[in-house]
């Protein structure tokens, strides 16, 4: 009897399973999904679906190559909300959309300006979206333009853009934000998110390639404005996000117009709130080490004074970037993107308790003192510049 029972238990294991079986070649791999809304407030989804057979390098031995067509196809769909738009894809696709391998979510500028809350709800609710997917605001063109970029080292635009983003992330020259980070920021008191920005570059009205520079400043789920490359860097300096990036001076120590490039090898920053009665101010301290990589003039780096003045110039440059950024977010867009309020809350919770309801009014006028300390570490292989005689 026991054995029969055990047999049934074992057999019952085999009754489950199979129901969610999907052969890998029956899936439509989505790499690159974009969401936007149009004039009629209808939700649009654009997806780039891969055609694996056209992608494989070695399929059919030598016969492939030129004969293989485009490795991807772009589909768009409309609906009253994103879920409806998404399910509408079923009407025109033979395979099931498979989103697990997607790592970037493109947000159209219209959607960003009118608020991405509904999209955020859709993508965080659906397990197929990776929470580590990058969020990117697309400016300078439509999503359709983006999906059809022609200039690419990679086989399809998505891969090109992903490479771009990861590159920028490694060199910390543009702001990279993923779903997790966005949601986290949104749920932190009085801190406003920033999202990376992809700018489509057109030539003769046709989208050609994209640049991943700058960022978009959000107030809650709505985009309030675009930040330039320098402003974004300024924010990243304050956020302690700079790891290695380049720094270009456009004037020399003697005030001459020249270009001197450095690469940052190590950087850290801190924001310290200061409270003086009702008066709140912040100290931003930035330290970084750099190496020289190029100069157009012939400054001699064996001269200690010269090093000192180059460090000085670097400090000025970084400071101006930071101030530029502060100007944009504090005065122009009035969003606390670097989380000054949060720093205050951490250090002076009581003061914060009193101020937090009025923070939106206080913030634009808060004083921020920026001090930068640069150290020039190495000059590359040449210490004395090459001297033509």
């Amino acid at each position: 009897m026991k054995k029969v029972l055990a047999l049934f238990i074992v057999l019952s294991l085999f009754l489950t399973g199979c129901w969610d079986k999907k052969e890998i070649n029956e899936l439509a791999f989505v790499q690159g999904i974009g969401m936007d809304i149009d004039k009629d407030k209808m939700c649009n989804i654009t997806v780039q679906v891969l055609k694996p057979a056209n992608l494989a390098t070695s399929s059919g031995g030598g016969g492939g190559g030129a004969a293989a067509g485009k490795p991807y196809e772009v589909y768009s769909s409309r609906g009253v909300d994103f879920a409806k738009a998404f399910s509408n894809f079923n009407t025109e696709l033979s395979r099931t959309l498979f989103l697990h391998h997607n790592e970037i979510i493109f947000i159209g500028e219209n959607l960003a300006r009118s608020g991405i809350y509904s999209m955020l709800d859709f993508i965080t609710r659906n397990p197929e979206f990776r929470r580590t997917s990058y969020l990117v605001v697309v400016s300078g063109g439509t999503l359709d333009d983006l999906m059809k970029l022609s200039k690419s080292v990679e086989k399809y635009p998505y891969k090109e853009i992903l490479g771009m983003i990861q590159n920028q992330k490694n060199t910390s020259s543009a702001y990279v934000c993923d779903i997790n980070h966005f949601v986290e920021t949104l749920e932190t008191e009085k801190v406003q998110p920033i999202v990376g920005r992809l700018e489509i570059v057109k030539k003769d009205g046709k989208p050609q390639h994209a640049r991943f520079v700058g960022a978009a400043a959000f107030k809650y789920d709505k985009m309030v404005g675009l930040l330039t490359e320098e402003q974004t860097k300024g924010i990243m300096w304050m956020d302690n996000l700079i790891k290695n990036t380049s720094l270009v001076l456009d004037k020399g120590p003697k005030g001459d117009r020249t270009h001197i490039s450095f690469t940052i090898i190590k950087a850290n920053s801190s924001i310290t709130p200061k409270v003086n009665g009702e008066d709140v101010s912040f100290d931003v301290k930035i330290n970084f080490d750099s190496n020289m990589i190029e100069q157009n003039s012939m400054y001699n780096l064996t001269d200690l004074k010269m090093i000192g003045s180059l460090e000085d110039l670097q400090q000025q440059k970084v400071k101006s970037e930071v101030l530029d950024a502060l100007n944009a977010i504090q005065k122009k867009y009035k969003v606390d993107s670097v989380g000054l309020g949060q720093k205050l809350q951490e250090k002076y919770p009581k003061v914060w308790g009193k101020l937090k309801d009025r923070w939106d009014e206080i913030y634009p006028n808060v004083k921020v003192n920026v001090s930068v300390k640069a150290t020039l570490k190495r000059s590359g292989l040449t210490s004395k510049p090459i001297q033509p005689r």
């Binding site: 399973g17 079986k21 890998i24 791999f29 694996p52 057979a53 494989a56 399929s59 391998h101």
Partner: protein
């Protein structure tokens, strides 16, 4: 005399003092056999009747001629009657004439017949109800040759042969200690196979030795042809797919295991010697591990364990990932697999199952065929299955790679018997992986693990020293510590004498 009566009763019959009666009984029992030789002779001046019986082919003829027949027939005539009166001729034979060392006396027909069939030669003399049994074993046998199934690069090359005595001698030559004991018994009603139980007293646990002897004595089978019979008859859990008794044809390995306190069971007619108690990790230890540098041995052990896991789970993980968990495959790989599977008519499970199936057929065919043909088979198999099937779009290249990797992984497990267990379980895993996904694979692995943990081999838990854990003994599981720090024998295995050496280096 009536043959049927004799067959039933000869075992307990005592020898007669009348030589004709003895001859009559033996002739009735054995005369039909064309290979049995009866040689009658007269001893000395008094012409005392005598005879000997031996089996042609089992005996060393030169030994019989020179050391038995010659003294009895020629030398005896040079002596006077005092030695060769009818009364004391038997004593004289025993004490002076027969010039071989290994002789004994028997009084029962049973043991006489047994010794004849064993290759010994009994000599009968008129008027005595006893017989002198002279050990004259000497048959054609395979020479001691290099081990074929457990080849090593470094280490002794010789392997056991089919003759028990040769095998015990190889062990005795390695362990020269009076405490090294080789007890023997006979198993099998018809085959009367000699089975020797070898152990080092005090190093081996007495309970284990007793248990081995008890289980061997309980066997009531008509014949033992190979030690594999014994293994199945005495192992703890006969229903388990896992072997619970290790076997080896390498005397160095068996000697080393005797030194660890294990008990060897040597069966005549089989070059494979059994060792108990056996633990799981033993199957992943090659004797070479202990001869090569310990860093390398450690690496190889980890490698083998990885290969074991691969050979068990790789196809199932592949199938489960491709049909259920596509999100777990890195994107470029997923796309590449999808591209390869484009146009393949089978489901991934079916595909993998078929490939595994063909691979097993190929392997089986390769083993059975003569060497020259075997090579042709593997070439055809590799070409047909590997190349043509992929090009024809019948299977995807990824599946072929997975199956091939699995095959190679299973070959890298040193013990063939556990490798085939994993081969068997692999098919079950494959089906579970293809129907239940990763969930099923984990469930199946847990079941296998639970089963392994429940096994025991002669009182020693199968998974020890991992579970139940013993951190000190883990030094010979995943790693191999150098000999100069290997101070203790495995506690669970060894008896009273646990210490191997004091901490010294030459």
């Amino acid at each position: 005399m009536d043959r049927t009566y004799l067959i039933e009763n000869y075992k307990d019959m005592s020898l007669y003092d009348d030589i004709d009666k003895n001859l009559d009984v033996l002739k009735t029992l054995l005369k039909q056999n064309s290979d049995v030789i009866f040689r009658e002779f007269r001893i000395g001046e008094k012409k005392v009747k005598g005879f000997l019986v031996c089996v042609d082919g089992l005996v060393d003829k030169a030994l019989i001629n020179n050391n038995i027949m010659e003294p009895i027939t020629l030398e005896s005539r040079k002596l006077d009657d005092s030695y060769l009166s009818k009364k004391n001729v038997y004593e004289s034979l025993l004490n002076y004439f027969i010039t071989t060392a290994d002789i004994k006396e028997e009084e029962k027909f049973g043991s006489v017949v047994e010794s004849i069939l064993d290759g010994d030669t009994p000599v009968f003399v008129d008027g005595v109800d006893k017989s002198i049994i002279i050990s004259t074993k000497g048959w054609e046998q395979r020479n001691v040759s290099e081990s074929t199934t457990e080849a090593v690069v470094r280490g002794p090359k010789e392997a056991f042969v089919e003759t028990l005595r040769v095998n015990t001698s190889m062990l005795r030559r390695r362990i020269k200690n009076p405490n090294f004991i080789i007890e023997s018994l006979k198993v099998g009603k018809y085959t009367k196979t000699d089975v020797a139980v070898a152990y080092i007293k005090d190093v081996a646990k007495d309970e284990v030795v007793e248990k081995v002897k008890k289980r061997l004595n309980k066997i009531d089978i008509d014949g033992i042809i190979d030690s594999g019979y014994l293994e199945e008859l005495i192992e703890d859990n006969p229903f388990s797919p896992f072997p619970q008794i290790e076997h080896s044809e390498r005397p160095d390995k068996i000697a080393a295991e005797l030194l660890e306190g294990r008990v060897a069971i040597i069966s005549d007619g089989s070059p494979e010697v059994l060792v108990v108690p056996t633990i799981f990790v033993q199957f992943f230890q090659s004797s070479e591990d202990y001869y090569e540098r310990y860093y390398i041995s450690t690496l190889f052990r980890v490698l083998r364990l990885a290969a074991m896991l691969m050979s068990l789970t790789l196809p199932s993980i592949y199938v489960a990932a491709v049909t259920y968990h596509q999100e777990m495959i890195p994107s470029p790989l997923a796309i590449s697999i999808a591209a390869q599977r484009e146009g393949v008519p089978f489901t991934t499970l079916m595909e993998a199952f078929l490939m595994e199936f063909f691979f097993e057929i190929l392997r089986e065919a390769g083993i059975r065929l003569p060497m020259q043909v075997g090579q042709a088979v593997s070439i055809v198999g590799a070409l047909v299955i590997g190349q043509a099937a992929v090009q024809a779009g019948l299977v995807s290249a990824a599946t072929v790679i997975v199956v091939a990797l699995t095959g190679i992984a299973s070959f890298s497990i040193p013990a063939f018997n556990i490798a085939i267990t994993f081969r068997l379980l692999r098919f079950a895993m494959l089906i579970i992986g293809g129907t239940l996904g990763f969930f099923g694979i984990i469930m199946a692995l847990m079941m296998i693990l639970a089963h392994l943990a429940s096994l025991e081999s002669f009182g020693v838990p199968y998974l020890s020293p991992i579970a139940p854990g013993n951190t000190r003994e883990l030094n010979d599981v995943f790693i191999r510590i150098p000999w100069w720090v290997k101070i203790f024998r495995p506690h669970k295995v060894a008896g009273r004498n646990v210490k191997r050496q004091n901490y010294t280096r030459g």
